[in-house]
Amino acid sequence: MPKIKMPKANTSLDMTTMVDLALLLVTFFMLTASVRVSEPVVVDTPSSTSEKILPDNVLLVSVDRFGKAYFNISNPQVRIKTLTRMGEQYKIEFTDEEKKRFGAMTSIGVPMEKLKDYINLDDPQRQKVKSPGVPSDSTNNQLGEWIQFGRIEAAKQAKTEKEKAESLGRDFKYEQMSFAIKADGAANYIAVQDIIKVFTKLDIYRFNLITNLEQAEE
């Protein structure tokens, strides 16, 4: 043993500030992250130079490259109520459990007759199902009914929320539901036009066409 003790080199760094920063960032990303639920269909949207951001409260109809339509409502409560209304229309009873599951789902592309089975599938199985698309032809216009009921229920929901906010003395910001169409760039235009006709028949003329952002050429 040497008699003079050499000062031990301190290998540990003061990491407090770094840890602070790292945890701050982690918290930020965790809070801002939104859960992305897998869609039943891949839609490759065309790009445009439009920088307008899609509103939060939307009724979305996706059109895949074969012209099949998929229906979605962003607000889960409105989704569930719309399902109830559709169930009444088609004499299909949905249990509370099924409604809850439907509220957590994304776009649906199956006709009403198959919807019950579709809801009861497990997530991985559901992804394997080949969706035939929501029927939208004139004899069996389920898409139109979905849109119509969705619109009514969204208005009702906004009303109840407003009343609730007023009774609590809070401000209420009303965001009207917008209608969005997310169509694949390779889809035949006539197929997309048919979907748009479903909307215009219900007196809805204003749409948000979803696109990718592309840099404008000078």
Binding site: P46, S48, G185, I196, F199, R206, E217
Partner: protein, 211 residues
């Protein structure tokens, strides 16, 4: 509890006499590892960009096809197969029409820079120049932001400004229509509508395609 002793591992004979110095340091390495792992994960998976949209109004269904032709200064685009665009300017006259006007002929163009872009800038020169002048004024702070917006909308909605009708046949894809609308936005065309094709136009495009 959570302290980790460092340095005292030597174990001398003074141990019993001295009170143990408690280290206030914690070995944070595993925590930092975990924090950074999570950080990396969230950075990778998070998507910031919300979907972008294009707002558009579609005409009501009962719009009389004959009324569409009354628009002055109208340019009609017909999208067809393989990204081709046909266009004609002004009113549509079928062959052997009553008025004895020459039949409308379609001109072919494409999405290249010298095609559609040039054509639109040329036809819409008045509006483009006016808006350029306005943005110049905006840059030098001669006019306010809101005034600029209002004046730009006025310029686009001007009676003399170009009106574009967009039509697509059954071979056109959705992307073509979006690209065209996008190009119209770039070229400051404020008045456009997506409308159905007339049968005479369908025939004309079919004839043009087989040429």
């Amino acid at each position: 509890m959570a302290e980790v002793n460092t340095g005292d591992g030597g174990g001398g004979k003074h141990d019993k006499k001295r009170a143990k110095k408690l280290s206030t340091r914690i070995d944070m390495t595993p925590m930092v590892d975990l924090a950074f792992l999570l950080l990396t994960f969230f950075v990778m998976t998070s998507t910031f960009n919300k979907a972008k949209t294009m707002e558009i109004n579609f005409p009501a269904d009962e719009l009389d096809p004959s009324k569409q032709q009354k628009v002055n200064n109208a340019l009609t685009f017909i999208m067809s197969k393989e990204n081709t665009i046909y266009f004609y300017y002004g009113e549509f006259f079928p062959a052997n029409n009553k008025d004895g006007k020459p039949a409308t002929e379609l001109t072919k163009t494409d999405f290249s820079k010298d095609g559609l872009h040039k054509l639109l800038l040329d036809k819409n020169r008045g509006t483009v120049e006016e808006i350029n002048k306005l943005s110049e004024q905006l840059k030098t702070r001669a006019i306010a932001d809101t005034t600029y917006k209002r004046l730009a909308i006025n310029a686009k909605g001007n009676k003399a400004a170009l009106t574009v009708l967009i039509k697509a046949d059954d071979k056109a894809v959705y992307k073509n229509v979006i690209d065209l609308i996008d190009e119209l936005n770039i070229c400051q065309v404020g008045k456009y509508a997506v409308v159905d094709m007339m049968q005479a136009e369908v025939d004309l495009v079919t004839a043009e395609g087989t040429k």
